[in-house]
């Protein structure tokens, strides 16, 4: 029974919280969304403020609207959140300092891999003498060869 009372209290509280934020529509909603998509909803597991259906995200969207209304630039709004919650609030780490590692390492890896593939190709191709490929085959013959090859394909 106690749970139920709490529940009702909770339900009663929801509209109150909502009233604190300015209504949607008084600023450009696309800008709000753009900013919200970069920020992490602080109570959610891994959702952006733009996506999260939670009450907290709703309030954070409200704050974004408020600050935009107060003539903040989008950068200032983001900076405000970073100042309040730390770098953690940003869903992708700003590419500077130590964070550069996470941005560049995947591509460094691909680069190293490409070089490795090329080197392997070179090394392995020297293993046996190359057989010259016949350049011209009778089309009917080729059709037949290809069909029979195809039957053997994995």
């Amino acid at each position: 029974m106690k749970g139920r009372v709490l529940l009702l209290a909770l339900i009663a509280l929801v509209p109150l919280l909502a009233a604190a934020a300015p209504p949607a529509g008084s600023v450009n909603e696309d800008t709000v969304r753009e900013i919200a998509a970069q920020l992490r909803c602080v109570v959610c597991q891994n959702l952006s403020v733009a996506d999260s259906p939670s009450e907290m995200a709703n309030q954070m969207r409200g704050i974004i609207r408020e600050r935009l209304q107060a003539a903040d630039t989008p950068e200032q709004v983001v900076a405000y959140f970073v100042e309040k919650y730390g770098e953690w609030i940003l869903l992708s780490p700003p590419p500077r300092g130590f964070n550069l590692l996470v941005w560049t390492l995947p591509f460094v890896g691909i680069g190293v891999g490409l070089v490795a593939v090329l080197l392997l190709a070179r090394r392995w191709s020297h293993r046996t003498a190359r057989l010259p490929l016949p350049e011209t085959i009778d089309p009917a013959m080729r059709e037949r060869i290809e069909r029979e090859m195809a039957e053997l394909e994995p």
């Binding site: 919280l17 909502a18 780490p93 996470v102 891999g113 490409l114 392997l120 392995w124």
Partner: protein, 647 residues
């Protein structure tokens, strides 16, 4: 008493698995068929005991035995019947039971199929599989016992995580774990190959279909997970790059790489070392995923628990990696490539690049997922690595993969002549460019969207062209159309099964493209009777209703959706208030269509029902993702048919 019996069963199963693993190894080493036989019996015993333990746990759930901690944590008297059964795998302890049970099924299947074949490999495979099984049984006995008692016995349980009360949560874990555990079979064969020194192609040909099964179930698990996320979590998306999603995606990526690179070894005798590395990594990543999501090391939807479990998993992963790579090093002399690679313009190198990209994607996901830990350890600053990062870094990689998907199956082995390239790619490349151009003229300005669409058309064209040519060749030899096409599919089921899977992936890619490029959304507050327009939909708010369900309190909004004055649907998104949860859970309502979904999430509302805030999304082409899953299923089914060529 029953929980104690259950616990005893898991403990005995652990003993049997350890014995069976050892007996099979000794039997293999010193050629004692009796010991191998005995090991088989032990495996059967393990299967029966885990099954019995599972039944006992389900019984505890059905009878509300809250003296069992796991039952008390994951159910309460209001939990509906079905979810009391699926609550079995609603959290860590039960998931481990499900996992080991599936592994024991795979073990039995391996026994049934191979007990009189591959005599050199078989006992070692049995030994490895029972060894892995023993680890999970150890987890079940020591750090995460599902039958642990709770004192004092609470009058009611805490209840299942409300997000898990969904049909997707019945099927998702089953498919996912069938995928995870399925990779144990090729891994065990790889280890057997290394132990016996028979590092040729045998282990690869034997496990080809097992790998496809595991890969397919893992894909299905991921897709059902996306479906669940889309229609339960209420954020309007299907993939959030959450650590738990990443954990399942990483083995999928390396498993996909493995599936492709084994073909190169089969045909060209190269990449032996690489294939072993890939299967070890894939198997290691299935364990790592569990470690990541279940140890509580990262906070995420699925991390319900914290405890010593992390140390167990980390230790086992270290053991597996050291052991496996140790074996690889010991057999290094036998792993030298015998074949050769003639040209960078060849199928071999297309497959190598495919592998490179898949592994790069896996690495990106891995590094991005653990980077917050690294940053905290090194800089002492917590950072987040989320969707914007993963999308940005992975999109070029995935586009390259789609491109290679078109090139790989058609480019010639060894060395592609100009003639081969012209013949196979001139038309598809042309079509891709024309399609992208047409799209541009239709007003699509997004470069990535154009590129992706062009690539999808290109790959589809290569597949259609190949199938057309092969059919034509058969027609020329006097077959009729349908038998010719059917014959192709059945006789070359590997090739065309693969193509159908590729088509499925392309359909999914279109869905991902569409939902990212063209979805629209808005959030608005409506008074009762008020309406607004989004896309082609006219949405009217008709009021709120409250109801009491068996285990929660529900507030339902009613919205009438019309298009050009014609009523399409009455939609009822809701908010559910669970006593055990601090915040309400959104209950999404959506109108599904091939072209677009209308997706409603109820936000705040006035208590008297006079007004409500609603988040409305028109999600474009999301349905293609689920359809792609169906196509993928067909393709995997085709690829898995027994090989007819030898018959």
């Amino acid at each position: 008493m029953i929980p104690e019996i259950g616990y005893a069963m898991t403990a005995v199963a652990l003993g049997l698995a350890l014995y069976g693993s050892g007996a099979a190894a000794i039997g293999a080493r010193w050629h004692r068929p009796a010991l191998i036989q005995s090991s088989q019996h032990a495996a059967l015993g393990v299967f029966v005991l885990i099954l019995a333990a599972m039944i006992l746990l389900v019984y505890a759930f059905l009878t509300f035995d809250f003296s069992v901690r796991y039952v008390a944590m994951n159910t309460n008297r209001g939990t509906p019947f079905y979810y009391r059964i699926t609550a079995l795998w609603g959290a860590l302890e039960g998931s481990i039971i499900l996992w080991s049970w599936m592994l024991s099924i795979y073990t039995l299947l391996v026994i049934l199929r191979y007990r009189s074949r591959h005599p050199e490999f078989y006992p070692w495979v049995l030994s490895v599989m029972l060894g892995v099984l023993a680890f999970f049984l150890l987890v079940m006995t020591v750090p995460a016992p599902p039958f642990q008692r709770l004192t004092p016995i609470p009058p009611d349980g805490r209840g299942l995580n409300p997000l898990l009360e969904d049909t997707g949560m019945i099927t998702h874990p089953v498919a996912l774990y069938l995928g995870f555990t399925g990779f144990t079979v090729p891994f065990a064969f790889a280890m057997a190959a290394l132990i016996t020194g028979r590092t040729g192609d045998e282990w690869i040909t034997v496990t080809r279909r097992w790998t496809i099964v595991a890969w397919y179930f893992l894909s299905l698990g991921l897709l059902i997970g996306g479906w669940w996320s889309y229609h339960v979590l209420g954020w309007g998306g299907y993939w959030a790059w959450d650590p738990v999603e990443n954990a399942a995606f990483m083995p999928w990526l390396t498993g996909t790489a493995f599936l492709h690179s084994v073909m190169i070894q089969e045909r060209r005798r190269i990449l032996k070392l690489w294939n072993l590395t890939l299967i070890i990594l894939t198997f290691g990543l299935t364990l790592f995923g569990t470690f990541l999501t279940r140890s509580g090391i990262l906070s995420s939807v699925h991390s319900f628990t914290q405890g010593t479990i992390g140390a167990f998993f980390l230790g086992f992963i270290a053991l597996i990696l050291l052991g496996a790579f140790g074996l690889v090093a010991a057999r290094g002399d036998r792993l030298k490539a015998q074949g050769e690679l003639d040209s960078i313009l060849s199928r071999e190198s297309a497959f190598l690049l495919n592998n490179l990209m898949l592994v790069a994607a896996a690495f990106t996901v891995f590094f991005g997922t653990i980077f917050p830990l690294l940053s905290e350890a090194v800089r002492g600053v917590k950072v987040s690595v989320g969707a914007p990062f993963f999308n940005l870094v992975n999109i070029p990689i995935f586009l390259a993969l789609i491109f290679l998907m078109g090139v790989g199956p058609l480019i010639a082995w060894r060395r592609a002549s100009r003639e081969n390239l012209r013949r196979n790619f001139l038309w598809p490349v042309g079509l891709g460019i024309v399609a992208a151009g047409a799209f541009r003229m239709l007003g699509v300005a997004h470069t990535l969207a154009l590129l992706c669409f062009g690539l999808v058309v290109f790959v589809t064209a290569t597949i259609v062209l190949d199938f057309y040519r092969a059919t034509r060749a058969r027609l020329r030899s006097g077959e009729r159309l349908l038998p010719a096409m059917g014959g192709l599919l059945v006789r070359q089921n590997r090739r065309y099964g693969g193509f159908v899977v590729h088509l499925g992936i392309l359909v999914i890619a279109l869905g991902v493209l569409g939902s990212n490029a063209w979805s629209i959304q808005t959030e608005t507050t409506l008074r009762r009777g008020e309406a607004f327009q989004i896309g082609r939909y006219h949405v009217r708010f008709d009021g709120l209703a409250a109801s009491e369900e068996s285990n929660h309190f529900k507030v339902t909004g009613t919205f009438t959706v019309a298009n050009d004055g014609r009523v399409l649907a009455v939609m009822q998104p809701a908010k559910k208030f669970y006593p055990q949860e601090q915040t309400p859970i959104a209950y999404v309502d959506y109108l599904m269509g091939l072209r677009e979904d209308l997706y409603l999430v109820l936000g705040d509302f006035a208590r008297d029902g006079s007004q409500a805030t609603i988040k409305v999304q028109v999600n474009r082409l999301v349905t293609l993702i689920w359809l792609g899953g169906l196509v993928l299923t067909l393709g995997a089914g085709l690829a898995i048919l027994p090989d007819r060529r030898k018959a």
